[in-house]
Every structure is written in structure tokens, then in C-alpha cells.
């Protein structure tokens, strides 16, 4: 009865393959675009690769970009598993970053072993609340999360801008810099490698991915989330409360996004600035390429991290505008969607055949 590979592993491998095919397709099409623009695609990709891996510093940069992308991708993945489309990751991310930086700049005089976790918790709570709000709105009033999360993004940006601009505020903010004050050393995420910017945010990200994987696939809560996401009818039949489940899933989603923001504030900039990081939108792509599987998200987070870290080198070394990276990201998403269609093609064909069998089109029947 037991097969060598369980169906789930097999399915995960198939979807991984789909992602790889999509990425290769996107790189080919991206290469064609570069060729048409008169650049040498091979040189460009080599420069991109070097920019991400050629030395210690480059590898450090890759992790710096990957950490928030993995956490953001996880945020997208847990929401998606519950059937929610969270495009408010950017807003949840800045709320988390802002909260952690405020707390870190306050100088509570705590040792790092206490202070840092406290700041991370603050980020998770702030981001979590920002994710919970659209969850509540959806569960209680039916307001669609796609609308409410976009709106909450703007509200988050403006609240933070408003708060940091306030002169002589009781908050530790710096209106000149449009940012919070610099955080104290005890609140910093430690740097991992001398001479690089690699910080412990990448460890937080990978640990979060592993924990989320266990939660999703080994716990009853994860079972409830996945049931709700796949079939509301089966969920209510199984006694699973849809509203409560999506609210919790959205809170977790927001908390993960908040942690991504904390990584930027506590590990990289040592303050929260009002410059939008933009990771929240790329995170959607990271989640999709990772097939909303936490372990897949680690890989796809690194992939997008490599693209971002290598882009400056591609521009300086191969003379290809780094904007092409955005084109590549877009192409990858497009290719993922296209490959998914191929994946479902046999099922679609079957459905078409049976639809033709049982319900021919009205006009032809009336003809």
C-alpha cells in the first residue's frame, strides 16, 4: 500500500519542476529582450551571477535581499493557503519595521538577549494587527481583502509619515531624516560575516519557513487552514470555522511580513525610514514561484534575492539597465501562470469533453 514517494512529495516535486521550467523560460525570453535591445544576454547573466556570488560581499548582499523576500513570501503563502490573497504585505511590513525601530530607538536599557526578541515581537504584533484588520473585515462583513489590503497599505505609509514628521514628538523620531531615531546596539540583529552586510534576518527567515512548514502540514491548525483554503463547504461540514481560521491566518501572514520589516530596521538600516522598500510586492511573486510551500518559498526567496543582488553588477559590468530585473520578475510570474495552465491541461481537456457531452452550447442546440 505504501509507495516509495508519497503523493504529496511527488506533487511538490512536480510543482518544483514547473517553477524551474518557468524560470528557465523567463530567462530565455529576458535574454531575447536584451538581445533585441542590443545587449549580450550571456554577458548580462554572467555579470548578474557574479554580482550575487563572486565574493563574500556579494554573497552577503544576496542574503540581505533574500531575507525580507523569504519572510514576505511566507506571508503570502499562509494567506493563500487559507484562500486569502494578501497584497497588503508591504503595509504590514512597514508597520512591523516601524514598530520594531521605535522600540529599538527608545533605549529601554535591556540586554540584547531580551531587547532584540522584544523588538521582533513588536514587529510581529504590529504587522499581525495590520494583517488581522482585513481578515476581520472579510470574515465579518465580506469586504474583499484585495481591496482592503491595498487601502491599508496607503494608510500604513501615511500614518508612519505623519508620525515621523511630527516635531518634538514624544516618539523617538527624526523629522529631518523622515525616519525613526537610530536604534541602540542591544536591539540590533547581529551581523554574521565581517566585511558584509549579512545579518541574522536570514536566520529568522529560514527558521520561520521551517516552523511554518511544520504548522501547515503537521498540526490540526494547519489542516484547518488548508481545508478552508481548498473547500469552504468541506470546512463547514468538518466543523471548521471559516471566519476564525482566515482571521488567524491573516494575522500570521501580517506577523511574518512585520518580521520582514524588522529585519530591515534592526539588521540593515538601524532605523525605519519612510522610503518604501517594495519587498511587499515582490513577495507575492516569491510566494507564487515557491508554490505557496514554505520550503519552496526559501528557494524562490533566494532566487529573487540573487536577481536583486546581482542587478547593480549587471548594470555596471554588462551595461544592461537593472530595470531588466523587473522585466525578468514579471516574466517569471507570467511563466509560472503559463506552466500552471499546462499542468492543468489534461483536467481542462477532460472537463471540456464532458461539458461538450452533457451541456452543449445553447446556440448550437437551438439552431
Amino acid at each position: 500500500m505504501s509507495s516509495e514517494l508519497t503523493q504529496r512529495t511527488r506533487k511538490a516535486l512536480t510543482s518544483a519542476l514547473a517553477s524551474v521550467i518557468a524560470i528557465v523560460l523567463a530567462l530565455i525570453v529576458g535574454g531575447i529582450v536584451m538581445r533585441l535591445a542590443g545587449n549580450n544576454a550571456i554577458d548580462a547573466y554572467r555579470a548578474l551571477f557574479n554580482g550575487a556570488f563572486e565574493d563574500k560581499r556579494a554573497i552577503g548582499e544576496t542574503t540581505v535581499y533574500s531575507a525580507p523576500l523569504i519572510l514576505g513570501g511566507l506571508a503570502f503563502a499562509i494567506a493563500s493557503r487559507a484562500g486569502m490573497f494578501n497584497i497588503g504585505i508591504e503595509g504590514q511590513l512597514v508597520m512591523g519595521g516601524f514598530a520594531s525601530a521605535l522600540l529599538g530607538a527608545w533605549d529601554l536599557g535591556l540586554p540584547s538577549a531580551l531587547y532584540l526578541p522584544l523588538c521582533l515581537i513588536a514587529a510581529a504584533v504590529a504587522g499581525g494587527i495590520w494583517g488581522l484588520i482585513p481578515g476581520i473585515l472579510r470574515a465579518k462583513t465580506g469586504a474583499h481583502e484585495v481591496i482592503s489590503t491595498i487601502m491599508l497599505n496607503y494608510i500604513a505609509f501615511r500614518i508612519i509619515t505623519y508620525l515621523v514628521q511630527k516635531q518634538s514628538s514624544w516618539l523617538p523620531v527624526d523629522p529631518e531624516r523622515q525616519a525613526t531615531n537610530r536604534i541602540v546596539d542591544a536591539a540590533k540583529l547581529p551581523r554574521l560575516l565581517d566585511g558584509t552586510r549579512m545579518h541574522a534576518g536570514i536566520i529568522v527567515a529560514i527558521a520561520a519557513a521551517v516552523i511554518l512548514w511544520i504548522v501547515l502540514y503537521k498540526t490540526t491548525f494547519g489542516f484547518r487552514v488548508r481545508t478552508v483554503g481548498l473547500s469552504q463547504g468541506a470546512a463547514s461540514y468538518g466543523g471548521i470555522k471559516w471566519g476564525a481560521t482566515i482571521m488567524i491566518a491573516m494575522a500570521i501572514s501580517g506577523a511574518l511580513a512585520g518580521l520582514a520589516g524588522a529585519g530591515e530596521a534592526l539588521g540593515l538600516n538601524y532605523r525605519h525610514t519612510t522610503v518604501p522598500p517594495g519587498y511587499g510586492y515582490t513577495a507575492i511573486a516569491v510566494g507564487l514561484v515557491g508554490q505557496n510551500n514554505p520550503l519552496g518559498v526559501i528557494l524562490s526567496g533566494f532566487l529573487f534575492g540573487i536577481l536583486s543582488a546581482g542587478a547593480p553588477n549587471m548594470q555596471s559590468e554588462a551595461g544592461v539597465s537593472k530595470e531588466i530585473i523587473s522585466v525578468l520578475q514579471g516574466l517569471i510570474i507570467l511563466a509560472i501562470a503559463a506552466v500552471a495552465v499546462f499542468d492543468h491541461l489534461p483536467a481542462l481537456r477532460r472537463r471540456a469533453a464532458s461539458a461538450a457531452g452533457t451541456k452543449p452550447r445553447t446556440d448550437s442546440a437551438a439552431a
Binding site: M1, S3, T220, G233, S236, Y237
Partner: protein, 529 residues
């Protein structure tokens, strides 16, 4: 299902041997990706006969008829209409050759009148519609065959049985001499079915050839002259209805001997375990969609619930399974009122529920079988501990349930989606009975299953009763309700309009109550009593 006795005297088998053939389909092959839907089917239909096409779900009946009507093109084979070979490019060509088809799901525009729907597609090249002339012509045809439809009524306002007549009218209006009906009785009340039989007989007597698709044996006995049986895309044979028995036909259809009648020894009802009192559910417009004064379920007894679809069945089941809280009234299980509890509360009170919709309720199709066994059981210690799923145990349990309930699947990690309907249903039944419930709700338990699986499901239901559980069976298949039930309750417009002894009540009597026709008589009876 009842034994099929020779056709009733009123329907005599016409002398067919000397008649010309209306339809000949010879060695038809049709392949779809991954399946051969028709694998060399031959069908010969005489002019002016009622010919039944019998087969299980997926046997290839609808495909064959869609080929005949020009909706599909055969990969191989030959079609002749009235002796001459035809190659239909599409349905329009089929209609021109004198064919008409009534689909299972009607192709009517609800906002249009009967006449407008009938003339749709044949309104002609002229810009102006001559509605009056058209209505007159429609009325003429309707009268000729006893179709009794008001040509000016809006389709949205007339019942399903009449809508079907509009479909038939349209085919006749278009000049069809060969009429194909795809499972025409699926949505009708028993009375509407009788009316349809009458119409088909009049059509046949007027020279129209009728082909109808069915998997119900009793329909064949009641109406057809000859029957062609199809199994797995192949013709098994054609027989004269009058010379065949239900057992023979069933065996031809399934490929082995089947138990058509449910073995149901006499019931030994015990104490009442579920009681509904004054349960009211209100619909979106404030009307009462369910209004049950009193309904009891007893241990060791199967209570059947019948009624025409849309008469409160959904609401009744949702109330009984905890999916819906009634506006008022009590649902007592073992003496405790748990109305207002959710599905978990009802499960914990001992109510198991085989839902009507396997795909959207009973299963998560993308989950492996073992996770589907976990559905509804997450609260139980043997399934989860400290919030962690006990995967090893559940998988072992799943494998043993698969063996016990004959769920055929490669492994316990196979996604539920890839199982056949029968195996999916067996998995649900296995999961629901594993809990050893006191009450089993079986809602349309055999919908879409083939005869072999139906036999298995029915046996499980009777076994559950014999294990002293209270069983409720709700089905739109009146034969199923009558075969299984010790008592039968009829739902009409949300009310229980009658409860009968399952072994004494007649089909006709139930049919009358289902149509609401004797509700008033019943009221007067009770006031006099």
C-alpha cells in the same frame, strides 16, 4: 428497484421487424483524450418506436446521442437516417435531417415566453416577428400531442415539467421526426413522469421515433418498446422490452449478477433518539423554507424522506447536521436540545452525516485520502494530540478502512480527486461509520453511482440500522426511498405532510403527497379526527 414484469397491456410492442429503420449507427468509435467513450457501438432504431438507451454513468450513452445530434464527430463508424448515410457538420444539420434533442439541462431563456423559446433559432430571415402566427402554430402542436402549455406564459413562471414540454415543443416545431431525450425524468415528480410517458406514447402513435437515455430500469418497462444496453462504450445487446426482465437488463448493464432489491429484514425500532419540534427556518424573503412540527428518528429504523427537490430538503439536513441554526424550535439528540450547535457539536452528540455533495462538502478533493479521513475528526485524541496531527495512526486507520470498505485506490496518500465516485462515497461512508455514530444521515447516498456501488452503499445503510443506529435516508429517487425505508416522511413546501409505513404505502400515494395535492384532504382528515 422493482422487478420488471412484462410491459403493461396498454403499451404493446409494435410489430417492428417489418418496419424501416429511422436511425442506424454502425460501429461508432469516439475517443477523448485518455478514454474511448464509444468503442464500436451499433444502434438500430425503427421508425415510430420508443427506444431506450440503457447504461451506467460513463457508459457512453450521452456521447453516442451527441454524435447522433451532430455535437460530436465520430472517429469511426457510419450513421444513417431513414436509410441514407449522413455526416452532420453540427446540430443545425441534424435538425434539418429531422432530429430533435431534449437535453438533461434545459436550454431555455427564462425571461422569454413559451412561444419565443420555441421559435428561437427558426424565427427566419424576416426582420419582423409574426408572434401571433407563431403562437397559434405552437398551440396547434401542443394540442395535437396533449402538451398543454400556455404559449404566452413566461418560461420562468412555469414548473420544470412544463419547461421540458417546451423543449419537446421546440423540437416538434422544428419538424423533428426523431426525438432524443437525455435522462428526461431526472428532475420530474412521479406525476410529471406519468404525464411525460403519455406524451411520448402519443408522439410514437403519431409516427415520431423516440430515443431516450436512462439508467433507471423501471422507466424502460413503463415506456419503451425496445432497449439497447451499453456498457463501457460497447453495445451489449438490443432486446424487446416485453421479452426481458429487470434482472436480465441489470446484468447486461453491469456485467454481472446484481442484487436489485435491497435485502432488508424487518426493523426492530428502539427508543427515539432524535426529535425535531416546531423547527422553523426562514428564507431570504422571510418565507418559511422549513416548518417541521414534529419528526422523530428511532434506533434500529430507517426513516426515508422524499419530496420534490427544493421543498426544504437542504434546510432539514442542515438543521439536523448543525450546519444551520433554525430560527426557532428544538433539535433534541438523546434528550438534549443541541439546536444552535455547530457541525462539531452534532458530531460529538453522535450524528454522522453522509452529505449530498461529495465534491464540495464530503471531501477535500486535493487532499490525500488519509487527510480526508481526518476531516471532522480533529477533535478526537486518536487523530490529534496537543494540536499535532497523528499522521502515522491516521494513515494506518485509513488503510484499514480502505480494506474494510473496499475503497479502491493505489494508496492512502492518493488525492481523493483521482478516485471514482463510488470509491469516494465508500471513503466517506467509512469515515462516518468509523466514528460508530448513534445517528446516520445519508443524503442522496447513491447519486451518480453505478449499480455495483449502489448495492454496496445500500447494504451499509441497512447494516447500520441493524447495528441499532437511527438512520435517515433522503433521496430524490423515490424508488430508493421506498426500497430502503421502514418509515417514509414526505416533505412538501418545508412541511412534513405525511409519514407512512414504508412497506405499505404506494408510489402513487407518495407521489400525490409530494405534489402537495392531498395536503388539504389530509388537513380535513386531521380536523375530523
Amino acid at each position: 428497484m422493482p422487478q420488471i414484469s412484462p410491459a403493461t397491456p396498454a403499451i404493446t410492442s409494435p410489430e417492428t421487424a417489418s418496419r424501416p429503420l429511422a436511425v442506424e449507427m454502425i460501429d461508432i468509435v469516439k475517443r477523448f483524450p485518455g478514454v474511448v467513450a464509444n468503442d464500436g457501438i451499433t444502434l438500430q432504431v425503427y421508425q415510430g418506436e420508443i427506444h431506450a438507451l440503457l447504461g451506467e454513468n460513463g457508459a457512453g450513452k450521452s456521447t453516442l446521442m451527441n454524435i447522433l445530434f451532430g455535437l460530436h464527430h465520430p472517429d469511426e463508424g457510419e450513421i444513417r437516417i431513414n436509410g441514407s448515410p449522413v455526416h452532420f457538420a453540427g446540430p443545425r444539420a441534424a435538425v434539418e435531417a429531422g432530429l430533435g434533442m431534449v437535453h438533461q439541462h434545459f436550454m431555455l431563456i427564462p425571461r422569454f415566453t413559451v412561444t419565443e423559446n420555441v421559435i428561437l433559432g427558426t424565427e427566419g430571415a424576416s426582420v419582423m416577428l409574426d408572434r401571433d402566427a407563431a403562437a397559434k402554430r405552437v398551440a396547434e402542436i401542443a394540442n395535437a400531442y396533449g402538451l398543454n402549455v400556455d404559449p404566452l406564459a413566461r418560461v420562468a413562471d412555469i414548473p420544470v415539467g412544463l419547461q421540458q414540454r417546451v423543449e419537446i415543443l421546440r423540437a416538434l416545431y422544428q419538424g423533428s421526426r426523431i426525438l432524443i431525450l437525455d435522462e428526461p425524468t431526472a428532475l420530474l415528480t412521479p406525476q410529471e413522469v406519468e404525464d411525460l410517458y403519455g406524451i411520448l406514447q402519443r408522439l410514437r402513435d403519431g409516427g415520431t421515433t423516440v430515443i431516450f437515455i436512462t439508467h433507471k430500469l423501471r422507466e424502460i418497462a413503463a415506456i419503451s418498446d425496445r432497449v439497447t444496453v451499453i456498457r463501457r462504450g460497447k453495445t451489449i445487446g438490443t432486446v424487446n422490452t416485453a421479452e426481458s426482465t429487470g434482472d436480465q437488463l441489470a446484468e447486461m448493464m453491469v456485467g454481472r449478477e446484481v442484487q436489485l432489491r435491497v435485502e432488508r429484514p424487518p426493523a426492530h425500532p428502539g427508543e427515539t433518539i432524535v426529535e425535531l419540534q416546531n423547527v422553523v427556518v426562514t428564507g431570504g424573503h422571510g418565507q418559511k423554507t422549513l416548518d417541521v412540527a414534529s419528526l422523530n428518528l428511532r434506533r434500529g429504523e430507517i426513516l426515508g424522506v422524499c419530496g420534490v427537490e427544493g421543498n426544504g430538503q437542504t434546510e432539514l439536513i442542515e438543521v439536523l447536521s448543525g450546519l444551520r441554526t433554525p430560527e426557532s424550535g428544538e433539535v433534541r439528540v438523546k434528550g438534549t436540545n443541541i439546536s444552535g450547535g455547530d457541525a462539531t457539536a452534532f458530531r460529538e452528540a453522535g450524528v454522522s452525516y453522509i452529505p449530498e455533495d461529495r465534491h464540495n462538502r464530503g471531501l477535500v478533493l486535493d487532499f490525500p485520502l488519509w487527510e480526508n479521513v481526518l476531516l471532522g475528526n480533529t477533535q478526537r485524541g486518536s487523530f490529534a494530540r496537543n494540536g499535532f496531527v497523528r499522521q502515522g495512526r491516521i494513515r494506518a486507520l485509513t488503510r484499514s478502512l480502505m480494506a474494510r470498505f473496499d475503497v479502491r485506490a493505489p494508496s492512502d496518500t492518493t488525492p481523493a480527486r483521482s478516485l471514482s465516485g463510488g470509491n469516494q462515497q465508500k471513503l466517506i461512508i467509512a469515515r462516518e461509520l468509523e466514528r460508530d455514530p448513534d445517528v446516520l444521515l445519508a443524503i442522496q447516498p447513491t447519486r451518480g453511482l453505478d449499480v455495483g456501488a449502489i448495492e454496496f452503499v445500500h447494504r451499509q445503510i441497512v447494516e447500520a440500522r441493524d447495528q441499532h443506529k437511527a438512520v435517515l435516508v433522503l433521496s430524490f429517487d423515490l424508488d430508493e426511498v421506498m426500497d430502503l425505508s421502514d418509515r417514509i416522511a414526505v416533505l412538501y413546501q418545508g412541511q412534513i405532510v405525511g409519514v407512512f409505513d414504508g412497506d405499505k404505502v404506494s408510489r402513487t400515494e407518495l407521489g400525490l403527497f409530494m405534489g402537495g395535492r392531498s395536503r388539504d384532504e389530509q388537513r380535513t382528515d386531521t380536523t375530523h379526527a
